[in-house]
């Protein structure tokens, strides 16, 4: 896909049953987005994958910060861009996010972030709407797949009008639920990308950043005024019985429509900057007004801070997802705890997963294990129970080092960090630098479980696989070369063969636990789920014909 064809997406009107993520992919494609980049993370992953399937130019970056920076560069070069990530990914990308609000962009730049209230597959349930306020970027909050499609187009329009990045936030049920979408013609794409030098706008030294901050505040005032006007069309009033008014956005709006079919509704499409005059008018028109929102009470607090009286939900409902029954209880002032629901079967490592060999070995080693994010986090569950910490992508290495620095020697020698290949590419490299630069007196051991894919999120490619998102051959980063290059003292590649892998790994780890060296053991065996994908890949794209060709013969 080259830039010229991306400017002319084929559009055919249609009515389709789509997930929110699929709808966003269609919208990005129909909007002529020239580059999609991101990092996989539930529940955001399928957006970029579907954008690629439609023919869009999509790439997985090593992590969300890099993805954001790639997208920002493209948008400053006048390319329409989307960057995708899950809520915790935005923490990684937060550094460029805040200053991108100052620089602004020259073409539409949509930051798609999916929140995971209820933590279907996440380590926390942070609310991305805080980031909008903190960074000073407008945020759109779709309720279903049609909204996702329409709001993406709106996001491009707003981003280009005010030359600002814009956050499009979904939640799990918006991203992963399917509902009917009518596709329609979206705004015409811009002229092809080209760079115009504009030093005071894009170089954020203090002298240029001070006026940039003032510019940002002015833009936000303008957007708020626009959002309050009827032209915005992002808010909708649904008339009903004026004894009850409900202000809601996102999936909460959908649940509330079902829970209170006769109420009046103000549906908020852009929760930041908030259309306060629209809200003031709505609240005055009803007898009782309740704000229904998933996550933290951000809407309710902002409305109350403006001196408008609304009811908010009880603190209990800051936890987990909302649903129709919970909304009914909020409206009825019912604060009784929800009935306990029987738990289903928890996930586990696949029967023939190579990680099983590793965690079985750990059971014989009496270790203190600083863990990380991936399938292997399941090693904490029965039957293994072999993980002592799990915080964020890459944390295993730094946390293991910290423990080794302060613990008495007998305990320090038992500390081992375990991280997967995808997570190592994402944010393990800097941990390894720290290990070489500030080694604890007892040294340290990092086990990198290399199954050749980003397994937990659904087998995505990464810089270590040698394949791009759309399965073309590309440059491959070899973990052992990186570790040696950084200066790790011992770098060992180990095969966890089901026959004798456990026994050999126990021996190997014991051997290095007593040394005072820095050690990386790469435990390498492909994910059993990726075998089919690998076979397809080899069938479709012989390496010599793939992008870049083979340079092996010099």
């Amino acid at each position: 896909m080259n830039a010229a064809t991306a400017l002319q997406p084929t559009f055919q009107p249609a009515r389709l049953l789509l997930s929110g993520n699929e709808a966003l992919a269609y919208a990005a494609y129909h909007s002529g987005v020239q580059l999609g980049t991101g990092y996989p993370g539930t529940p955001s992953t399928e957006m970029l994958e579907n954008f690629a399937k439609l023919g869009g130019h999509a790439q997985w970056a090593p992590n969300e910060k890099v993805a954001f920076e790639v997208a920002l560069g493209a948008a400053i070069a006048k390319g329409r861009t989307v960057v995708t990530m899950k809520h915790v990914g935005l923490n990684v990308a937060a550094d460029p996010l805040f200053t991108a609000a100052y620089t602004g962009v020259a073409a539409g730049f949509v930051v798609f972030v999916a929140d995971d209230f209820g933590m279907a597959s996440s380590q926390n349930e942070q609310d991305t709407r805080y980031y909008a306020k903190a960074a000073g970027l407008p945020l759109l909050d779709p309720s279903d797949s049609q909204d996702a499609y329409d709001f993406f187009a709106k996001a491009i329009e707003i981003s280009e009008r005010w030359q600002l990045p814009i956050i499009l936030r979904t939640t799990t049920r918006v991203s992963h639920s399917k509902s009917i979408v009518t596709l329609h013609e979206l705004p015409p794409p811009l002229q092809p990308p080209h760079f115009v030098r504009d030093i005071p706008t894009y170089v954020m030294i203090p002298a240029y950043a001070r006026p940039a901050h003032a510019r940002l505040l002015k833009k936000l005032d303008e957007i708020q005024e626009w959002n309050d006007s009827s032209i915005s069309s992002l808010q909708r009033v649904i008339p009903g019985d004026s004894s009850l008014g409900i202000i809601a956005s996102g999936i909460a709006y959908i649940h509330a429509r079902e829970a209170a079919p006769h109420a009046c509704f103000l549906k908020i499409g852009m929760p930041f900057p908030l259309p306060l005059e629209t809200i003031r008018k709505f609240v005055a028109s009803v007898e009782r007004c309740v704000v229904i929102e998933e996550g933290d009470p951000i809407l309710a607090e902002a409305i109350r801070a403006a001196g408008i009286h609304v009811e908010s939900k009880p603190p209990l409902y800051r936890l987990g997802e909302l649903n129709v029954q919970k909304v009914r209880k909020i409206l009825n002032y019912d604060i009784s705890p929800d009935a306990a629901v029987p738990r289903g079967k928890p996930p586990e490592l696949c029967p023939a997963c190579p990680h099983r060999t590793v965690f079985s070995a750990f059971q014989s080693l009496n270790l203190i294990i600083t863990g990380d994010i991936g399938c292997y986090t399941l090693g904490v569950l029965e039957p293994f129970g072999e993980m002592d910490t799990c915080v964020c992508m890459g944390a295993s290495i730094g946390m293991g080092l910290g423990m080794r620095h302060v613990l008495p020697e007998d305990q320090a020698r038992r500390v081992l960090s375990v991280i997967g290949d995808g997570t190592f590419m994402h944010s393990g490299l800097t941990g390894l630098l720290e290990m070489v630069y500030n080694p604890p007196p007892t040294g340290h051991i990092v086990l990198i479980l290399d199954n050749g894919t980003t397994a937990m999120t659904g087998l995505q490619e990464h810089p270590g696989t040698g394949r791009t998102l759309d399965m073309h051959a590309t440059g491959q980063v070899r973990i052992e070369d990186v570790a040696r290059g950084i200066g790790v003292q011992n770098v060992i590649v180990f095969d966890p063969d089901p026959k004798d892998g456990e026994e050999n790994l126990i021996k190997l780890v014991k051997e290095y636990l007593v040394k005072n060296d820095t050690t990386v053991i790469i435990v390498r065996r492909p994910c059993i789920l990726s075998a089919k994908k690998e076979k397809e890949y080899k069938k479709v794209i012989p390496i010599t014909e793939a992008r870049g060709g083979c340079h092996g013969c010099g």
Binding site: A120, S177, S179, P342, G344, P347, E348, M456
Partner: protein
Amino acid sequence: MVADNIINVIVAGIGGQGVLRASDIFGQVVFAAGYDVKKSEVHGMSQRGGSVVSDIRFGKQVFSPMVPPEECDYLVVLEETQIESNVHRLRPNGVLIKPDSIDLTKLRNKRSINVALLGVLSTYLPDLPEELWLSAIRNNFAEKLHQINETAFRLGKSSR
């Protein structure tokens, strides 16, 4: 059958059993029949052998994509062990469709249990034409699997 009412269906099973495939097929059937439809499930960790549950709701106008507690009309469970954690979602007089709803000895490929139980479901929803079921099944499988899944569907359909 439907009028203004919403019909709530839940498909439940274990990761890898074809819960999502079954709910995709059913979603396409009711969509093709002209109903409003919403379908919702949780992805992610559940792929790794854990419980998978998918909600499908259809009717004239559907709001929430999740079936509210005790409002499920038809609960389709692909594995006996998953009945206990889902049966509380059925409404009084709701229908439980489970593996022994069909004659399992006649199911040639055990992997097509998902489609066979959709066949059972289809007998409760006679307004949905058989052709829509068959075409949705064909849309969701490679051609070489069409025959075996059609046979599984008919087995389920003839079970009551």
